[in-house]
């Protein structure tokens, strides 16, 4: 019974995104909330009916038929169709007779792509955008989104409401960007997918299933982009490669209590299949001249799939971090770069560089300093570890830092 419930939950999640996309494409994004309501009602009816009569042999077909009826009822009953939608339609009025939702595979795919570009429109940038992507593109429930953001339902609802307002006020349409705009608009879509993935991979929430689901959803969206010629660009494949390499370590980095650090991971638990997939996408990403940050990050992640420490490995990783910082500075990349410098060029050079960073609000910074002072000045090493301890946020982190202090 438990399994059946989970299957249904997964089915609804997948179909939510598809059906909302198809309905919104037909009637316009100003009715996106109506579309959500119709789909939710459809699921409610499905749950009730299927509980009594059992799940039909083709549940998606069942859902589509019911959603179609409900959609037509809604728009007819409210005369929205005749008075508002028809005048907006550019094609011939006979469309009214045929006003039938098209749930063919191809149409669903096209609608979802259009929805991706609509939701990832730069006009609705900010926190709300990821929430909206989770809701509309991935079919996540409000409660799950709240948990992922360590927030509450009310806040998330407000955010989503504002984002949808913005869809309306900015008059964002469901359509593919013009040919000459796609590469540029795609940047924003890729960025949102990247954020979604990171939200899952580095999330603060303890719910490991939810975190994994976020990552898988991000990968699913990116795969959709690789299946469409005009969005299947080298940078799309680079992002895909990056996510595959990271995802290959899911099993190895989790245990019951906490995250397992890279150095302590059992590489037998790395998913070879995903690493191979990553290699495949990495080679596809190597076409053309563009070197996006995804290319660099994918190659860094690739090198991390090789457990053995070699001079070549760390020289490459250092060079990639250098390039990444030159495109785009972030404190965490600066810290990782300094660690790579330590591995490639030695402790003393890395220590000199680390002292210049002054990232004194981050416990990772003091952890790194602690490591770099080791055997050079053990007193300072210990002092830095103590600062790291004071700044660490979780009990698990504090414990692991305490262990290192005790080692001195």
């Amino acid at each position: 019974m438990k399994n059946e419930e989970e299957d249904l939950k997964y089915l609804f999640q997948q179909e939510f995104a598809k059906m909302v996309a198809v309905i919104s494409r037909m009637y316009g994004l100003q009715y996106i909330e109506t579309a959500e309501d119709i789909v939710s009602e459809t699921f409610l009816l499905a749950t009730e009916t299927w509980k009594e009569k059992g799940v039909p042999p083709n549940p998606t077909a069942w859902l589509y038929v019911v959603a179609k009826q409900k959609t037509l009822q809604y728009f007819r009953r409210n005369k929205i169709f005749e008075e508002k939608v028809i005048p907006q339609l550019t094609s011939t009025p006979e469309k009214e007779e045929e006003a039938d939702l098209d749930f063919s595979q191809q149409h669903i795919k096209d609608s979802q792509l259009q929805m991706m570009f609509a939701v990832c429109n730069p006009a609705i940038a900010g926190e709300a955008q990821i929430g909206l992507a989770l809701r509309i593109l991935c079919g996540f429930g409000i409660e799950e989104i709240a948990e992922a953001f360590l927030s509450n339902k009310e806040t998330i609802n407000k955010r989503l409401f504002r984002a949808k307002e913005k869809l309306r006020s900015e008059n964002i349409k469901m359509e593919m960007p013009a040919e000459n705009e796609i590469a540029h608009r795609l940047d924003n879509v890729l960025h949102i997918i990247y954020l979604l993935f990171n939200e899952g991979y580095y999330s603060q929430t303890q719910n490991q299933i939810l975190r994994k689901e976020l990552c898988i959803e991000a990968m699913r969206l990116a795969i959709m982009l690789t299946e469409y010629d005009k969005t299947n660009l080298p940078k799309t494949n680079a992002l895909m490669a990056l996510m595959c390499f990271h995802a290959s370590r899911f099993a190895a980095r989790e245990n019951k209590e906490a995250l397992v650090l890279y150095e302590e991971q059992d590489e037998n638990l790395w998913d070879k299949n995903l690493i191979e997939q990553g290699m495949h996408f990495l080679s596809l990403s190597a076409q053309g001249n563009e070197m996006s940050s995804y290319h660099l990050e994918a190659r860094i992640a690739y090198w991390h799939c090789i457990k053995e420490d070699t001079k070549e490995k760390w020289n490459e990783i250092l060079s990639l971090y250098n390039q990444l910082l030159m495109i785009n500075y972030s404190p965490s990349v600066a810290l990782n770069r300094t660690y790579a410098l330590y591995k490639a060029n030695g402790q003393e050079e890395a220590l000199r560089e680390a002292e210049k960073l002054k990232l004194e609000s981050s416990h990772f910074y003091f952890l790194l300093l602690g490591e770099l002072y080791k055997n050079i000045d053990n007193k300072k090493a210990k002092l830095n570890l103590k600062k790291a301890f004071a700044l660490a946020k979780t009990q698990t982190e504090k414990q692991s830092i305490q262990n290192r202090i005790d080692d001195f």
């Binding site: 250098n322 390039q323 030159m326 990349v333 560089e353």
Partner: protein, 112 residues
């Protein structure tokens, strides 16, 4: 934070005189140095490397294939860095690999 341009000048390098390994090592030193500035979040614009070839237009419409043979140090490229003052910008320039090859770094504030 103000912006400063670092202009790199170095004697011309004849690529035939250096082995591929040396060239790779030079490249690495350069990248490690630039990465160090970027890691401090102080690199505003990077990677503007200039080709060793070019033309020079002089008064009277005289065009030559560059003055590069006439001067000891040719302009090789530039970075734009962020620093509080020119002293800090000069500190950032320390360790620049052109200094090892007999070159120099010129530090100039940008108006703005």
């Amino acid at each position: 934070m103000k912006e400063f341009v670092l202009l790199f000048r170095a004697p011309g390098l004849n690529k035939n005189d250096v082995s591929p390994e040396e060239l790779k090592a030079m490249e690495k030193r350069w990248m490690d140095w630039a990465g160090g500035i970027a890691a401090q979040g102080k690199l505003a614009s990077s990677g503007q490397r200039l080709s060793q070839e070019g033309k020079v237009l002089k008064a009277g419409g005289v065009i030559t294939d560059g003055p590069f043979v006439e001067i000891r140090e040719r302009l090789g490229g530039f970075f734009v860095v962020r620093a509080n003052d020119i002293d800090e910008a000069t500190t950032l320039a320390h360790g620049c690999p052109v200094l090892e090859y007999g070159g120099s770094v010129e530090i100039r504030p940008i108006y703005g």
